[in-house]
C-alpha cells in the first residue's frame, strides 16, 4: 500500500461559500467586543457631558469594572473547566473578615494575616473542588452549600469574638506593612501629579485637596485585574494546562481517557477561583479599611454574568478570558453609566437583565457558527 493515500476531497461541493470577512470576525470574544462598542457608543451619546468620560469618571467605572474582572477571570476559567462556584460572594465576605480578625482582633502582622487568609481560602476552594470530584455532585449544589456555610461563619465569628459584624481599623494596623500596599496602594502617584500639572487630569477645585489631581495614582485593584486577565489569557490559550482546562470542561470522561488529569485541573481551578475572590476581598479591605459580614453578596452571580456576557458556555469547554474581561467591563460601565445618565436607579436591574439576555443570545449565535453545533 502506498504511504500517502489519495486525499478524499471532502464534500467541497456540499458546503456553501462563506466570506473571509465573516470568518475573521467570528471569534469567541466577538460578543464581548460588539457589546463593549455598543455600550460605549450609547453612553458617549447620552451621558458624555455628565462627567463620565473625564479622568475622574473614567477612573470611576474602571474601578468597578476591575472588581468584576478579578472575580470574572476565576469564574471564567472554572466555567470553561466545566464547573461553577456559587460561593464566590461568601468567600469574599469570609476572606475579608478573616483578615480583619487576624490583624485587628488578634493583632497579628497584616502581611501574615493576608498570607494566612489566602492559604485558608485557597484550601476551602480545594475542599469545594474535592467534594465535587469525589462525589460527582453538580458543583451548583456543593458550592451552594458553601455559600450558606461560609456566610454563616462570616457572621458568626466576628459576632462571637468581637460583638460586632463590621470590623474596622485595618488601615491603622496596616500602616507601614510591606504587603498591604500590594493590594490597597496606588501606583505612579508622581506621574499622575504631573498629568494634573499639565492638565491631562483635572485638579480639585474645592475642598481639602484643592489643586491636587483628581486621580492621584493607578489603584492596585486595577493592576491586579489586568495582571489576572493577562495571566488567565496566557494560561488558557498558550499553555498545555490551558488545553487541559478546555478538555476537562468539554468532556471530562474523554479528557480523562486521553490522559488529562481532570481531577487535578478542576480542583486547581476551584482553588484559583478562591484565590481571585481573596484578591478581591483583600483589595477591598485594604481600600476601605474595614470588613463587613455583608460584603460580597450576590457577587457570584455578577461574576457568572460577566463571564457569560463575554461569550463563555455555561456548560463548560468554551469561552475566553478576554471575553470575560470585556463582559466585566460592559457590566461595570453599564452600572456606573446609568448613574451618570441619570436613569432611575431601581431600573438598573431591569437593564442588567435585558443586556444579559441580549448578550447571551448574540454569543450563542456566534458560537454555533464557530463550533458547527446544531
Amino acid at each position: 500500500m502506498s504511504e500517502t493515500q489519495p486525499t478524499a476531497a471532502m464534500a467541497d461541493e456540499r458546503i456553501k461559500q462563506r466570506s473571509r470577512l465573516r470568518e475573521a470576525m467570528i471569534r469567541p470574544e466577538l460578543g464581548g467586543i460588539v457589546g463593549t462598542i455598543a455600550v460605549f457608543t450609547f453612553f458617549m451619546l447620552f451621558a458624555f457631558d455628565s462627567g463620565m468620560f473625564n479622568s475622574q469618571g473614567i477612573m470611576n467605572w474602571s474601578q468597578v469594572s476591575a472588581q468584576f474582572m478579578i472575580i470574572a477571570v476565576g469564574a471564567c476559567l472554572l466555567m470553561i473547566a466545566g464547573e461553577f462556584d456559587l460561593s464566590v460572594g461568601s468567600m469574599i465576605g469570609f476572606a475579608g473578615m478573616m483578615i480583619a480578625i487576624f490583624s485587628v482582633t488578634l493583632g497579628w502582622p497584616v502581611w501574615m494575616s493576608i498570607l494566612i487568609t489566602f492559604a485558608i481560602c485557597i484550601a476551602l476552594g480545594a475542599v469545594n473542588g474535592f467534594i465535587v470530584i469525589r462525589t460527582g455532585l453538580p458543583s451548583f449544589i456543593v458550592t451552594l452549600a458553601f455559600l450558606f456555610i461560609l456566610r454563616g461563619f462570616t457572621i458568626y465569628f466576628p459576632q462571637t469574638i468581637e460583638r460586632k459584624t463590621i470590623i474596622g481599623g485595618i488601615k491603622d494596623v496596616a500602616e507601614g506593612d510591606w504587603l498591604a500596599p500590594v493590594f490597597g496602594g496606588k501606583l505612579f502617584p508622581g506621574l499622575f501629579n504631573w498629568f494634573g500639572e499639565i492638565g491631562i487630569v483635572d485638579t480639585f477645585e474645592r475642598g481639602t485637596r484643592a489643586g491636587q489631581p483628581v486621580v492621584d495614582g493607578l489603584p492596585m485593584l486595577i493592576v491586579w485585574a489586568l495582571l489576572l486577565v493577562v495571566f488567565g489569557h496566557v494560561l488558557l490559550t498558550k499553555t498545555r494546562f490551558g488545553n487541559w482546562i478546555y478538555a476537562a470542561g468539554g468532556d471530562a470522561e474523554a479528557a480523562r481517557n486521553s490522559g488529562v488529569p481532570v481531577a487535578r485541573v478542576k480542583i486547581l481551578m476551584f482553588m484559583f477561583t478562591a484565590f481571585c475572590a481573596t484578591v478581591f476581598a483583600t483589595c477591598q479591605v485594604m481600600e476601605f479599611g474595614s470588613a463587613g459580614a455583608d460584603r460580597g453578596l450576590l457577587k457570584e452571580f455578577e461574576a457568572i454574568i460577566a463571564v457569560v456576557i463575554g461569550g463563555a458556555l455555561l456548560t463548560g469547554g468554551y469561552g475566553s478570558v478576554i471575553g470575560a474581561a470585556l463582559g466585566a467591563l460592559i457590566f461595570g460601565v453599564v452600572q456606573q453609566g446609568l448613574f451618570f445618565a441619570g436613569v432611575e436607579s431601581s431600573l438598573f436591574r431591569v437593564f442588567l437583565g435585558v443586556i444579559l439576555l441580549g448578550a447571551v443570545i448574540l454569543n450563542t449565535y456566534i458560537r454555533r457558527i464557530i463550533t458547527g453545533e446544531k
Partner: protein, 292 residues
Amino acid sequence: DGHASQKYILVSHAPDSDSWWNTIKNGIALAGDQMGVEVEYRNPPTGDLADMARIIEQAAASGPNGIITTLADYDVLSGPIKDAVASGVDVIIMNSGTPDQAREVGALMYVGQPEYDAGYAAGLRAKGDGVGSFLCVNHYINSPSSTQRCQGFADGLGIDLGNQMIDSGQDPAEIKNKVQAYLSANPNTDAVLTLGPTSADPTLLALDENGMAGDIYFGTFDLGDEIVKGIKAGVINWGIDQQPFLQAYLPVVVLTNYHRYGVLPGNNINSGPGFVTADGLEKVEAFAGEYR
C-alpha cells in the same frame, strides 16, 4: 429564686448580615446578664418580612414571657403580634413603627425612633444649615424604613425627593463609585445623607477621593467606627443616633421588672433621634459598633 425563669425574645426585621443590629444583640445580651433572664435574638435571614411574621408566631409558640419586636410593616406584623398578645405574651415594640401602632397591636409600650420623624428632624436641621438639595444613599432600598428616612429628610427640607435617592447596593466599591458618579453628574448637590455604616463608610472614602470631604454637607443615620472618625474629622456634620442599645436594653429591663414587681413606665420611650456631633465624642468613639 426562680428569677431566671423569665425568657424574652427579640425579633428584628434585619437580614443577618446587617451590621447595625449587632448593637441590638449586644444590648439584649447585656440586659439579660444584668437582669438574670434568658434572652434570644431572632431575625429573618434574608430580611423578608413575611418570614419575620412566622418567626413572631414561632416565638409566641415557644412560650416566652415577653417578645420585643420591631413593627417594620404594620400590615404584615400586626396579626402575629396580636395573636402573641392574646396568647398571653407581653410585647414591646422597638425601633420601627409608631407609638400609635404599638398601642393598636396591644403592646405594652414603644421604644424607638420613628423613622420618618427622624428623617424629618434631620431635614429641618439641614434646612437650617442652608441645604437645598441632597443625595440619599440608600443601601437597602427593598426595605420600607429606608425610604421613609429619605422621604422624611426631603419633606423636612421642603423639597421633592425625586431622583435624589439612589439604590446603591451593598458592595462598598460600588457604593463609593456610585456616589462619585452621582456627584460628578450633579455637581451642585448640597448634601449627602447616608442611612448607616454600610453606605456611610464608602461614601466617606468617595468624598475623600473626589475632594468634597469637609466641603459638602454630610449627615448620616446610625453610628459606627468610621462614622465616628468622620464626625471627629469634621467630614460628617452629624450622625443621627437612635441609640439602638437602649432599644434593646430598656425593653428587657422594663419587661423583667414588670414581671417581677408589676411596675411599668407610664409612657413610650423615644430613644432617638439624638444628633451626635463633634462635641462629646469620646464615649461614642469607645463603643461605636458595639454599644453605640
